[in-house]
Structure formats: C-alpha cells, structure tokens
Symmetry: D2
Subunit: 308 residues, 4 copies
C-alpha cells in the first residue's frame, strides 16, 4: 500500500508489466491548467529512446480518462491509462517458479505470498512510464511558476559485450523561490531523496557537494553570501535546513546496472535448488540515458507537491 | 507542517532550541511493550558525548507524560518532554537581525516570515534529541522481534584549528526478515533515504555498494544466491525492488561539516548588507561521533513503521 | 484533493458523469483474495434498479485493469474502469451557464473556478458506481473474516407527481469482533459517519438509539451486560469509546430528496439573473432503494480499512 | 494510532485522565498569529462550568511549550500541556478488574489488551480539554478571516434524581465563503460529521433540515436562489456537493447521557461474572451545557483545516 506519491498533488499508480494496462490517477492538480498532450507524448518518447536495448516497440499511447474538459484541467482527478499491447509473456514462462539473482522476484514473493511472474510484474521498470506521464503534467503546472528542470548523464559507460552498465544522473531545478520545504521531517532534500530512491535501480543520492562535502571543512563548505542573497558557491545544493534558498537545486542519483544480462544465470527455486538459465526477453543493457526523464519526472512531482 | 515521521508508529516532535522545552508524541506504539527509561537515558548519553565541542551541559532529563502505565505501554500516545534548562540566549542576540552563511536562518525567514533567532530555533540540531528518545522506544519494540542496529563512523577527521569537519556514518540493520517494504513509492530504501536526509547536515545517502555500483557491470553487481536464500555478496544492501531480502540492511550517510565556526564570518541582514561577526555560543567542531545514535534512531523509526 | 477513502485499504476514484470513463484504484487489498467478478456485477445491478426513474440504460460493465492475476489479488493496486457509453450531454447544454437550486453547480464553480457542466460532472451521483465496485471487493475480503452487511429502507414514500422524495436507510454489520476502532479521532463511529455523509444527498447519521438517546436517562440508555459479554440492549449501536464491542453495529442514514425535479425551476446565472427552466435529462424521483447498496459499500470500505 | 485530527492544521493529542498530564501538539498553525492565552483560558472556563456536577476543581492551567515567540506563532509546532493535579485515583480502585456497562472499559481492553483503569484513562471525557485548547487557537486563526462560531443547547432536561441526561447541541458557523470542501470523500459535511461523532457520547449528527429532510419533497427541500447568490431557505445547512455555498453552516449533534450514574450498577469481570457496585468519583449528571464549547472547538478545527 504505497502506490501513492505526494500529499497535495497526489499520484496513485497501478499496473503490472504484462497485465491489461498501467496507469495512474492524479488528485490535486489545480483547475485551469492547459493539458498539452503533445508534451506528454514527447516526454514518453524521451523515456522510450536511449540505447534501444529494449526491443519492445512500446507505442505507449497515453489516454486521459477524466479531469480534463476542453483541454483544461477541472481540479478533479486526472486518470490516465496506457494499454499493454506488445507483451510477450511466453518469454517469461520459465521464470514463474524460480527467482532471478538481483531481482525483486524473491522479495515480492516474500512480501505478498504471490506475484505476477510475467516481465517483472509490478516490479518492472515499465511502471516508470506512469511517473513520466504525471511528471509531464506536474511540469505544466510548474511552468506557470517559472520552474524548469534539466538533467544530464554525469557518468556512464559502454557496457561490455553481453553485459549491462549503470551510471550517475545529475539534475538541476531552476526557478524555485526561497522558502520551499517543510522541516523537520519533510525537508525538501529528504523528499527528493525518497523520490529518487524509489526509482528502480537507484542506489545513491547526494545534494550539492554530496559525499565530497564530508571531507571539506566548515569554512570551505559554507556558501558565502552575495549582496543579492545569492551565494558565491552552491555546496549545499540550494537547500538549507530543508528549505530552498533560491539558488538552483542540484543533486545526483547513482544507478546500479540492470541485473538481468543475457548470460547463463543461476536462479533459485522455492525449494532452494539452483538452476542455470539464460534469460530471454527484452532487457536494457544501458538504461541510464532513458532514466534521465524519470529523474526529472520525480523531481517535478516532488516540487509540485510543495507548491500547489 | 511536517513534524511527523511515520504512518503507523508515528512520531510528532516540537520545540525550539531555546524555548521552554522540546519533546514529542509517539502514536501507534503497540500496547504491552516494557518501556525501559534507563535505555532512553543511555541513548541520550551517546548523543551527548562525542568530542565535547558542545559545551552545553545538557542534562536532558526525559520525562514521559502519558501512554505508559506501571512501566508498560498502553497503546495510547506516549508523550515526552525535555526541558531546556541550560540556555544562554544572550549569546545569540547579535544574530536576531542577520543571516549566517550555511545556516537555515534565511530559509526559515523566507518560509515562515519570522523565526526564533535564539540558537537556531527549530532548525537547531537540538531537535535530534527527540529523535533519539523515540528511536530508543522503537528499538524496544524491535528488540522483541530480534531486530538490532549497529553504526560506525566510516570516515572522519580531526578538524583543523578553529574549524569543523564532516564525515560518513555507516549503519547495519540485522534481523529484518525478507518481505519488508512497500513498493512502488514507499520502498524501504526510499523511506530510509528520507529518514537519513532529514537529519541536520546530511548531504548524501547510499545503499550497499552505493555510488561505486554505478561503475560495476550487471554481472559483477548482482548478488548470487546461496542455497539457503542468502546471497554471496550484498551489493544491493539487503533490499531488492524496495523490499528487504533477509540479508543485513546496509547503508551509509554523508554529513557536511557544521557551518558555524568560531572565525570571522560574513552575515547578511534583511537589507542585503554584509556584516562581519565572530560567532559565540556552543558549536560542534566534529558532530560525527555523536550523530551516529541519531542515524540509528531514524533507522529504527523507519523499520518499526513498517513492522508494527 | 480528496478522492481517496481509507488509509490501509485505500480507494481513489475518478471520473466525470459524461467524460470518457469513471473508475478507481484500490491500494492495500491483501494478496490471495479470490476476486469474484460476478459478485461485482450483482452489486452493480442492485445499484441500477430501484424505481427505474433513472432512464439511463447503464450497462456499467466493470473492467479490472491490474492487481488480479488468474482470478486472485496480487496485493498490488487493483484498478478498474467503467466506460461512459450512454451519455446524452445535449440534455445538459442549457445548464452550462446557470446554476440550479439545490445542486453543486454553484459550489463547484466557487471551489474550482470551472466545472464540467454535463450531467453534474464529478458531482453526479454516478460516481457512487465506483464506490459499489470497491465495496464489493471489500466485502470479498471481509467475508473471509465472517463479516456481513445488511441494509433496509427504514423510511421512504411514493413521491408526488412530478416531484421527488427522500428517506432513511438502516444498516447492520454483523461479525465485527470487539476491539475495532482507533480512538480518539478515528473512532469507528466517526469514520462511519464520514463515510455515510460523503454519499450524495446524505443529510443525517445516527448510531444505535441515535437522536432518541438524547431524551433517555443514563440508566435507560446504558446497555446492561449478559454473562457472555453481549448486552441486553444495543442502544449504543455496537460501539463504545469509538471501538466495537462485539454486538451488531447499527446505524441509520437520512437522505434528502433529489433536488432536480421536472418542474419549472429558477436557476441563477453568473451575473445573478434568475432564469426559469424546466430540467430535461434523467433524474431519480426516488433514489432511496438504489442507494442502499451504496450505504453498504461505504460501510464495507470503512470496516475493511480497520481490519486489513 | 488515531490521535491526530486534520491534515493541514493538525492536532495530535495525548494523555490519560489520571496520568501526569494531558496535552497536544498543533502542526500547521500559520506563522504570525497572535496567540491570546486569555482566550484559551476563557474557553477552558466554558468547558469547566455547566451544571457543576463534575466536582473536580480542575484549574486546568494550559502551558504552551513551543511554537510561540514573543506572543506570536512561529509556524513551528505549538505544544501545550495541562498537568493533572487533582486526581483521586483511589476512587477508581474498584474498577480495575471489572467493566462498567455503557463504558469503554471493555472495548479498550479488547483493543489494546490493557488499559489505565483510573478515571477512564484515555477514554475519559477529560481529553476534550485538549480539543478546547486547540479549538481556541483555531478560532484565533479563523477570526482573521471573519469566521465565527455560535452554539446553543437545542434540547436538554433536568436529570431525574440520581440519574443523568443527554441532549442536542446546535452549531452555526458564520463567515465561511462559498467554495470550501473537498469532494468526493472529504466533503465538508463528512468531515464535520466525523469531527462531531469523535466527541465522547455523541450519537447523532445532522446538517440543516437533517432527518426531517428525509420526509420532504424535492420541491420543498431545494433552497431557492436570491439574486445575491444567497438562498431563501437553508435546508441543506450551507453545504452542497460537499462544498460550502456561502450561507451559514448549520448542524446539530445529539449526545446520549453519561452512563455512569451513582446507582447500583452491574459490572462484569474478565471471567464473565457480574458484580454489583455503586460508582464513586465525579460524574456529570448533565454534560450538555459544558459540551457546547467542545462542539465549537471541533467545528473550528474542521474549518481551519480546509482554510489554512
């Protein structure tokens, strides 16, 4: 019971990778926002490309079911669905009774007592498509307030033959006024961290100078004032005491490589017996480029939740 | 409005550093737990020591006001207070109309339009005392389920003369069964990240292999099975798909140095004029050793919220 | 931002009366529950019949999109949609720029600055269809615990020609063990009251002896013990101190008549000018019989939220 | 886990009747509100008087611990405590191992497995003192927006000798603009109903014409427009579709009599044996007059939560 993100601009998502559809409901989008479906489509396109290791031809047409009337939001819930029309469940038949290493197969089974074994089910990276849709709508709200997002791949490599690689994505949020954030537990940096770590394969998060700041002295680290209330450096990443200070908000997210590689792999069955299989299906060898738009979407959903 | 942590075992804290008292209310502590006040005191002692840079002689006697009858929890809210009896507000008089660099002075003023300038007010590290009390009670609940916590200072240094230093704290949680965590947004790692990043001066978080995992290949990173459902490595830090896998849960938190150092410092006033002051008062030159118990407390509060 | 009911078994609904679809997402349904789609259909049928004043031939086919695999719940979100296929929006064209008396036209416009004028939009009684679907699933969960629901029309009349009538519905919940409810603010009776008053046209709620209890003495009102912990009377309606006592839970809900009647009606436009119209479209003259299943659904959603 | 009321202006209360203290924490009170402690005291006085059947000389001095600096709210949590200094626990010794009829003794024991038997513990009407404090602060916020509250005892009687009586309290809220409320589940009337039914001994709630509306026709019930957007009648009680329409908000709450009367009473012990006792201690024979301020407080807490 945790498929809801946010408290004011609240996204609830649903759907298994190979079920009928995935989708979401946004509750709390202000009335009067022009909903640009072409922007949603272009964000979905950013998620679809990348290194094209994912062979699924996801058309991923997003259909809005409610909350928008004559192209403008009503203030009522905006529901959207994406039908799963290109599923190849037979590729996954061999996985239904064994757990892959490095995957959520085993943990979902321990959590729920059962799971949809097809394509990772709910644990599939496919659920991030719903984040991108909602993130696009969040951006439409935030654009009216001058807030924009920029991501870049900070570290990435070519995966070796038959293997996969991870990387680091940096994100900068511009235009957030000073005064956004809710201490002491819903600090803006705490909420951003939770948002980012909820993305599949995220394994590290840092604000501003990040881990390097742990090796700086206080006099090096502190960001000195300019007379216009900007600061000369931005080691803190734009947040102090959990509240934005008006500088760009900057953070980085580390992602581990996708753990399914098309090599012989030892799985374990319910009885604890190991079996060697060679995974079929569509698996990203380098998911970093296409994950950038997911990072942006979660950043937008985090910010909009403080601001609506 | 964010002074509540958790949804089932729910801590609400209050208090400014130099007000009458700080404290908290725990709602959702199960009935029937023996509340060991000496354990609370010993955890408070762990937070008090360290390098003793903090000259405040905080006796920090914790008084429980409700929810405990004849030494056992009732299931009703457990309220506790710590009176602020050793406050030296006059040390802070010079700060009431200027904003220090690297502090939350400016951001609180932007957020609320006013603040208590004495000793950092609500933004003071002093509020972590309430986290330690609640964390101690959370540990009493978790001990009945065999869950224990261990922290160590992974990186730290001696601060140079008249300056401060940061560091990295590692935490291991043992005894959490497989199956704990709520995908897709309240993943156990996402909740731990938020908990840790809410600690004053936290600036980075990583699970398991962390940022280093972004440079590994998939075949290196994935944790291979043993026949007893443990894994040969623990690169993921004990969590897959947002759910515990039964291995130790391991993470690290990076902290930046405290930004108040007893050196000439340029503050800015409401009109944008810079003033050089030399801070007085009590300031930690090395807060890392005493922060370990705060990390543990937040870890305990995170885990107990999934388990009660 | 209030289209979510419940905290553990959490229903989020969406949809305007004459939009593409209405529907909902249930988050928190336990895994392993057999989802009987024929029971959903029969509950929808109970909502459809009644006095047939509603001429809409709502087939209201419910399609489940996620969360169910091979007929059994997965523990992941259960999303469902009902397409709006029999909408006659032209009947409502005359209403787009005026506010009917006794309706939510004006209040929605004041709340959101705009609204979907077709058929009441989000304020239409049509949204209760989603409550019935979710209530049916809640009943499947509760049946496994021996909890059942029974409603009856306590007061109702034949509406006079060309007019509408209200009534009172009584509900009894059997099989709830003693000990359910969360004082002091989420008392079981408080949650039931909120659930019932959220139903369109609900205007009163009472537990057990209800308003009549305000005229009893303490010695008359108090429910005396039998030796098996049942009570000789049930004036309190099965709840004491906000917690169930093991007796049947009994309450009544009063509903006002539907305010659209096919008579000349004075509407008001944005400028405060009154206009006499004669409403067309489909309007219930007696909605009480078909509302009983909605009362039951909300009761089931309330109870299941305490019990899962 | 339910001792929190509200989502934006959020009150968390604690305390057993005969423990050290009762109190609360308000999170979300806006910064800049003048906190008038004499108004809190006068509201507490309204709760203290009445028929004086309660012989406890509750001075009930309210001490504010945080969130207020120089008489003005900071935006940080406002914590307050009321020490329990006039407790006569020995009066309740005979009750520790038996359950009174009509009380929460049995249900608390079933819910939590234990309870504080002194004076009703957490289930005592004493907890309403914390609601009155928070309600007074809510009123200070709402007064700045022109919103005021008025209650009257609508029905009440003199209790017969050695017995107790109930009654009905009416409440009118003036000054709420049109547009307040969050359909479809957090309708303003639904939230008011929950707030009122959470008050000890509340047993019925109705808006506007209430139960009588169930016997009216649609053409009688609907409130016809005046040209200034007020209505000629107020049968709906000022709320349509869950949203305020700008008319006075009007509702009534029915309360059952206090069930402890100083007459021989059959209690039941854990083994199901009945024992006749004659209750001692302080018990209200007519709690209606002093409950009016509690009704007002909960109304204020409900409204402020939508408006801050």
């Amino acid at each position: 019971m945790s498929n809801t993100f946010g408290t004011r601009f609240r996204l609830t998502t649903f759907g298994e990778s190979h079920g009928k559809a995935i989708g979401g409901v946004i509750d709390g989008c202000p009335a009067g926002i022009t909903i640009d479906e072409s922007l949603i489509a272009s964000e979905m396109h950013r998620r679809h490309i990348g290194d094209n290791a994912t062979k699924r031809h996801e058309p991923d047409r997003v259909e809005i079911l409610s909350g928008v009337y004559e192209g403008v939001s009503l203030g009522t819930p905006i529901a959207f669905v994406i039908n799963n029309i290109d599923t190849q469940s037979k590729d996954y038949d061999t996985l239904s009774d064994c757990f892959r290493p490095g995957h959520a197969d085993y943990t979902y089974e321990m959590r729920y007592g059962r799971r949809d074994p097809r394509g990772g089910g709910r644990a599939s990276g496919r659920e991030t498509a719903t984040r991108v849709v909602a993130g696009a709508i969040a951006k439409m709200v935030l654009k009216t307030k001058g807030i924009t997002f920029c991501t870049e791949v900070v570290e990435n490599s070519n995966p070796p033959a038959d293997d996969s690689c991870g990387g680091i994505i940096g994100c900068t949020i511009n235009g957030v006024n000073a005064g956004v954030g809710d201490p002491v537990f819903d600090k803006l940096n705490a909420r951003l961290a939770a948002a980012m770590m909820s993305i599949p394969s995220a394994i590290g998060f840092e604000m501003g100078a990040g881990f390097a700041a742990s090796r700086m002295t206080g006099s090096e680290f502190r960001d000195c004032w300019n007379e216009d209330f900007t600061t000369q450096t931005n080691h803190c990443g734009g947040i102090q005491g959990g509240i934005s200070n008006g500088m760009p908000i900057m953070f980085r997210v580390a992602f581990h490589p996708v753990t399914t590689v098309c090599q012989p792999t030892e799985c374990i069955d319910h009885n604890g017996n190991l079996h060697t299989i060679t995974p079929q299906g569509r698996h990203d060898r380098n998911h970093i480029p296409r994950t950038a738009v997911v990072v942006e979407a979660m950043a937008a959903l985090t910010i909009v939740d403080f601001i609506v």
